[in-house]
Structures are given as structure tokens and as C-alpha cells.
């Protein structure tokens, strides 16, 4: 029932076979030497190793299916932190799971725009169909269902995420069909992403290891192209960039801008009286 292809298996000491187990009988894969080396590699990518903690926790999840006590201990040891410090971080972020996850994570966006466009109905129907509540895993261990916040795809609402890949403009029926195909281990591809592997394999990519699927899927979905298509139909363009083959029009910054700069500076000075962060921290922030 898994779509895992051994060739895609993220790690020698990793998940194959594990995914068919139910969460309760889930035996944890220990953190082996390969994982240990990879955790250290992540720590080495940053000027200060602690910065690697979030990626390291993603890697722990990819190997162990959740953030385990062993994972916390290992990260703490590598980064020379206390376990309490690591644990405090792990509990702050919603993507880190302390309970064993299903093979696939299915996230239904129920933030306002998606909720109104049908996300609430989709979530309820999936709960009923899968016989689970929010943040629960199906009895067969195939799917963990979760309500998620705005996933930056509102123009494709209502949105469902599978292992953090987009499934756009869903209906209750299409969502049920989707989870059924996932459960049956059928090949499922995101219309704006890659073929679905598993939540664990997704976590490995998030941790910082490429999986060779970057060229799958399109550059953009239709909604992303809505304005561009209209512009193309009507022959609308931005003014030409006027490449100035090294004639010093980079120096345009000096002359041509002078006039504009007056207005700009007047405004700038007003703003500069506050510090940048005052302005950003103000109510007009997003």
C-alpha cells in the first residue's frame, strides 16, 4: 500500500516497510550512522550550527516518523544544547509531530478564504469518510488528516495539501477520491508539483536533501498565469527594459533620477524619523 519505490528510499537505514504499520505498532527506526552523519552535515551548513536545528528536526521526522526522544537527544548532543532547549523548539512549530504520523499527511486549508470556498465542507466530509478527527491518523495508518492554515494558494481555493504538495480547487468528492487513491497506493501526482511519495520523504527534502523530482510538474498553475495570459492576448507589456549596453546608463541613477529623488527624499526623510522597524512593526504590517 505504499508508493515507496526502493530506489527512492531516502536512506539505507530508513523507512521501507515501515509505512505499512499502523501507528500503534510503529517500531521506531533508530538513528543510524548515516542519519547521524547527515545531521552533522546539516549543522555544518550554517555559520552557527544551532541554525540547523529546524532542518535537523525535519530530518529526524523523515527517519523516525515523528520527533522522538531519541531525535531530541541526538540533536541536543550534536548542537551542544540541552534537551529542554531542543524540546522547546520542537513544540513551538506545527510541522513537528510528537505522535506517529500516517504514511501521508493530508492538510485541508480551512483558513477563511478556503473555508468559505468549500474547505470546511471538504474537511468535514473527509473526517466522516476517514473516520478521524483533526490531527488523527486512520486505523490503517495511511493518512493523517489535519486542518491547515492559509497555504499561500488562495487563488486555487479550496486547497488540499498532500505531504505539502498542492491539490487545487478541490471538491468533497475529488478530495475523497484523492485519499482513496492514496490509501490504495496508486500513483498520485500533484497538478502543481511532483509525484506523491510519502510524508517522510517530503520531510527529507525539507530538511535539505534533494530528491531529484524538481523537474516534475509545471512552472505554474493556470491561476498563477491569469494576468499574464490576458496581457499576452491583448498585447500588453511592461515598458521595454532598454538594455543600455554599457553606455553608463547605470549612471541613470545619478542624472535622470535626480528629479524623482527630490520627492523620494522628502518622503524618505519623513519615514526615516522613525526607524525602519518602527514602520515595519506598525499596524500597517502584514
Amino acid at each position: 500500500m505504499t508508493t515507496n519505490d526502493p530506489a527512492q528510499s531516502p536512506l539505507p537505514d530508513s523507512v521501507d516497510g515501515m509505512v505499512t504499520q499502523t501507528p500503534t505498532e510503529h517500531a521506531e527506526t533508530p538513528i543510524g550512522p548515516t542519519t547521524l552523519a547527515e545531521l552533522k552535515e546539516l549543522a555544518g551548513r550554517y555559520p552557527q550550527s544551532r541554525s540547523a536545528l529546524l532542518p535537523m528536526l525535519h530530518l529526524v521526522q523523515s527517519v523516525q516518523g515523528r520527533v522522538t526522544t531519541e531525535g531530541i537527544e541526538t540533536c541536543a548532543r550534536i548542537l551542544d544544547l540541552s534537551e529542554a532547549e531542543v524540546s522547546a523548539v520542537a513544540t513551538f512549530y506545527t510541522m513537528y509531530k510528537r505522535r506517529p504520523m500516517g504514511t501521508h499527511h493530508v492538510g485541508v486549508c480551512t483558513n477563511t478564504l478556503c473555508a468559505v470556498m468549500g474547505g470546511d465542507e471538504i474537511f468535514e466530509r473527509l473526517c466522516g469518510h476517514l473516520d478521524v478527527g483533526n490531527d488523527e491518523t486512520t486505523a490503517d495508518g495511511a493518512i493523517t488528516l489535519e486542518r491547515v492554515e492559509c497555504n499561500a494558494a488562495c487563488d486555487f481555493a479550496p486547497v488540499v495539501m498532500v505531504n505539502w504538495e498542492f491539490f487545487d480547487q478541490q471538491t468533497p468528492e475529488s478530495a475523497i477520491d484523492l485519499v482513496e487513491r492514496l490509501r490504495a497506493g496508486e500513483r498520485v501526482a500533484s497538478p502543481r508539483g511532483a509525484q506523491i511519495t510519502s510524508w517522510r520523504e517530503a520531510e527529507r527534502v525539507l530538511a535539505g536533501f534533494e530528491d531529484g523530482r524538481v523537474d516534475e510538474g509545471p512552472a505554474a498553475g493556470e491561476a498563477s498565469l491569469a494576468g499574464l495570459r490576458i496581457a499576452q492576448e491583448r498585447g500588453w507589456e511592461a515598458p521595454p527594459l532598454e538594455e543600455d549596453s554599457g553606455t553608463g546608463r547605470g549612471g541613470e541613477t545619478k542624472q535622470e533620477a535626480a528629479a524623482e529623488a527630490d520627492t523620494q527624499r522628502a518622503e524618505a526623510e519623513t519615514v526615516a524619523e522613525q526607524s525602519p522597524a518602527d514602520v515595519e512593526g506598525g499596524a500597517d504590517d502584514d
Binding site: L54, W164, G227
Partner: protein, 442 residues
């Protein structure tokens, strides 16, 4: 006059394999980098300053000026951090940009790093977008392989490393100082300012934090120049920008236009409201910006125009709701979001959002109590300006603005459930036919 739509950032999104280095270079990609390498850091900062580019992450702070705050005499290294956390409800422009054309951002990162003399840059991308993370990592790898990143870039002597860093789910990490804490491997909680990031940011070193779209706008500015950029937009809100339309419109999506276009024009382009629908309310720039109504269709969508109308341009995330939608339901859901995402550091926001959710829940159920509306406004009053960061302020925007325009709907919440007044099924994408006869609900 410029054209109604001016694709610059979005221009190559329909290209075959647009995310690859080859496709990007075929479109003139990395030419701006060559030009930027011939300019001094000071000249680059001046160029971006003079262009009038303002931050696209919500606050609209002039980008070049932010760069100019980096001290020259600080012994610590300087860092560039790109805010790719895009989590403000309604906002959906940076994610498609990085999915379709990650090299636009990478080229912007290199140029911006030169301007502020950073040798290390980070792209902090929210974790919940797997394919975008793939595309970013591959783009950075390709850029290294091509010599656009790494040591002695194009023989210029410039060195730069770029790390793509995936977050782990927390809206507050979009707030720039919380983002820095998160990037240091901590809980994402906002920092006390001063010191400001320009002086003591990442690792207590000088740091510039910019939104994806701000940084991605830089290569074209370098190529086109100040007057090119300024030929689009309005006097104080210069240039092109991406507007994101979502909700009850015929063609939701990304529309790149000069700053100052109106919602009326955008709706016209997107085929108007869905069949049988009338515009009821909308957000100009995400859920933290006060809602507007049909009376604001002709407001120029630039920083000044929207703020004169009592809201904020924010992230230009236009969430459009028609007459089938309950404003109380929407405000409740947004408030639940802020409560969920409140980092808990300060009392007004932590406690206030909790109380607001309790009250809104009973209003939504039709079980409101006399005085609930006043209590809500009081709570907002106590949060606005008194919380540690702008999340708290933002949480009050939907409530105060919705009560301003739709007070009667909140009053109805004393007796009638919102779902009775506005059956949710009529609002869904898959119920377009349910509209007939629903207009009476409002």
C-alpha cells in the same frame, strides 16, 4: 501611459521549464548581475533608493533606504535574509514566483548581497510548500554550478553563499525579528527593538531582511533603470507589483500591474464576480488589513490610496467575498487564526485574541449577549498599539472594520446563527448554481 497589466516578475512564468537556469538565461536572466558587478555597492544602494522600490512584504518601507542603514564600520559580517515565509491569509504571490522562476529571486539575492556587502544570504521559506523548496534548492545549486554564486563571482572578487532554509509552520516567523530567532534555531518570537536588525540582526550582526517580491524586483530595476521603473505606478508608489485575486471572482489569480490600479479594473480583467454575485467585502492586502466594501472599488491600490480609504495596501492580497458570505463567520475564522498563531509573548495579544474568539463564536452561533460588540471593540482597543509586535495589531483589523461596515450582522448574532442567515454551502466553489435566490440573505 503604461499598459493596464505590466508583467515583469510574472513575464516568464508560462515559459517551458521556466524554473531552470537555461530557461531563465534565455529570457535575459543573470544579465542584471553582470551589470550590477560593474557598479559599486554604494551605486547599487543609490540605484534602488532612487528607483522608489518599497518593500512588498506588507509595510512598504523603501528598500534602498533599508539597505543604506547597514553600518559600514561594524566588525561583524553582514547578512541578507529573504523573507519567504508567505503566510498572511490571502497572500499568494511569493510562492508561485519561487515555483515558476526561482532564479529571479536568486539573481536578486546576489545583487542585493553585493549592495550591502553580504557574503552569506539565507532564503527562509515556509516549510509547507514542498515543491517550492525543491525549485529553490535546485536554482541555488544551478547558480553555484554556473559561477553566479560561490567564490569570485564572474571574476569580480565577490564571494557569496546562499542557504535555502525551510521553516516548520508558524505564521509569526514571517515577522522579521521572529524570523531571525527561528533562523537561529529558536522558537520564533519577536525581539525587542532596538537594536534593529540593520545593526544587530542575525547572530547579532548587521542584517537586511526583505520580502521575496522586493528582492525579485531588483534585477529588472538594475537592467531597466530608475526611470523605467518609475514609468510604472504612481508618484509615491512606483513600479510594477503582483496583485493576488481570490474568492468569488470568475478568474482568480495573479495580476501584475503598475501600482495604483483599482479593484474595479482588476475585477473587469478577471471576468467580474462569479455569476449572480455582488461584491460584499474584500481585503486589500491580506487578513491583517481592514476590510473594504463595494464603495471602495475605485480606490487606487497603492500605499497612499488604500491608506486614505482607511486600510492598508499590505501584501496586495485581494480576497473577494460576495453577498452569500457571512462577515461574522469570516471574522471569527480570521480571529481563530490569530489566536492560534499568537506566540504568547505578550498579554494583550495572547489573552485578547482568546477572548475575542470566545465572543465571536457565540455571535456566530446566534447566541451573542448584549454588549458583546462593545466588548469586542474594547478588546481591540486594548490590543492595538499595546502589543509587542504587529500580529496583535493585525488581529484587530478584521474585527473593527467589519463592525464598522456590517454592524447589523454582528447584532443579528445575538439571535440568529450566521449559518442560518448565510448558508455556507451557497458560498462554495462547487455551489455556483446555489446562488439564485440567496441574495435575500443579506
Amino acid at each position: 501611459m503604461t499598459d493596464v497589466l505590466t508583467p515583469v516578475l510574472t513575464a516568464n512564468w508560462a515559459d517551458d521549464r521556466a524554473w531552470t537556469l537555461a530557461a531563465y538565461e534565455a529570457h535575459g536572466g543573470y544579465q542584471a548581475l553582470d551589470k550590477a558587478l560593474q557598479l559599486s555597492p554604494e551605486e547599487l544602494v543609490e540605484l534602488v533608493k532612487d528607483s522608489g522600490l518599497r518593500g512588498r512584504g506588507g509595510a512598504g518601507f523603501p528598500t534602498g533606504m533599508k539597505w543604506s542603514f547597514i553600518p559600514k564600520d561594524n566588525p561583524n559580517p553582514t547578512y541578507l535574509v529573504v523573507n519567504a515565509d508567505e503566510s498572511e491569509p490571502g497572500t499568494c504571490k511569493d510562492i508561485p514566483l519561487m515555483m515558476a522562476s526561482p532564479h529571479t529571486l536568486v539573481e536578486g539575492v546576489i545583487i542585493a548581497s553585493r549592495a550591502i556587502e553580504a557574503r552569506q544570504a539565507f532564503i527562509y521559506v515556509r516549510g509547507e510548500v514542498l515543491h517550492v523548496v525543491r525549485r529553490l534548492r535546485a536554482a541555488v545549486r544551478e547558480a553555484y554550478e554556473a559561477g553566479h554564486v560561490g567564490t569570485d563571482i564572474h571574476g569580480s572578487g565577490m564571494d557569496l553563499d546562499i542557504v535555502v532554509h525551510a521553516g516548520a509552520g508558524a505564521y509569526i516567523c514571517g515577522e522579521e525579528t521572529a524570523l531571525l530567532d527561528s533562523l537561529e534555531g529558536r522558537r520564533g518570537q519577536p525581539r525587542l527593538r532596538p537594536p534593529f536588525p540593520a545593526v544587530a540582526g542575525l547572530y547579532a550582526s548587521p542584517t537586511v531582511i526583505n520580502n521575496v517580491e522586493s528582492i525579485a524586483s531588483v534585477p529588472a530595476i538594475v537592467r531597466g533603470g530608475v526611470s523605467w521603473f518609475g514609468s510604472m505606478g504612481t508618484e509615491k508608489s512606483k513600479g510594477h507589483t503582483i496583485y493576488s485575486l481570490s474568492g468569488h471572482v470568475k478568474r482568480p489569480g495573479q495580476y501584475e500591474a503598475p501600482l495604483g490600479i483599482t479593484l474595479r479594473e482588476l475585477l473587469d480583467l478577471s471576468g467580474g464576480m462569479r455569476d449572480g454575485a455582488e461584491l460584499k467585502f474584500w481585503t486589500p492586502g491580506g487578513s491583517s488589513t481592514p476590510i473594504l466594501t463595494a464603495e471602495h472599488l475605485d480606490v487606487p491600490l497603492d500605499y497612499e490610496g488604500v491608506s486614505a480609504a482607511g486600510s492598508m495596501l499590505g501584501t496586495k492580497a485581494l480576497q473577494i467575498f460576495d453577498q452569500t458570505t457571512s462577515v461574522v463567520r469570516c471574522v471569527l475564522r480570521w480571529t481563530e487564526f490569530y489566536k492560534h498563531e499568537s506566540c504568547g509573548k505578550c498579554t494583550p495579544c495572547r489573552e485578547g485574541t482568546w477572548w475575542m474568539v470566545q465572543i465571536l463564536r457565540r455571535l456566530d452561533r446566534g447566541e451573542g449577549q448584549p454588549g458583546d460588540i462593545e466588548t469586542l471593540l474594547d478588546l481591540c482597543d486594548n490590543i492595538l498599539g499595546r502589543s509587542f509586535c504587529a500580529l496583535g495589531d493585525g488581529a484587530t483589523s478584521p474585527i473593527t472594520s467589519a463592525i464598522q461596515y456590517f454592524r447589523d450582522e454582528f447584532e443579528a448574532g445575538l439571535t440568529t446563527p450566521s449559518a442560518e442567515l448565510f448558508p455556507p454551502s451557497a458560498s462554495t466553489l462547487f455551489a455556483a448554481t446555489a446562488l439564485a435566490g440567496k441574495g435575500a440573505a443579506s
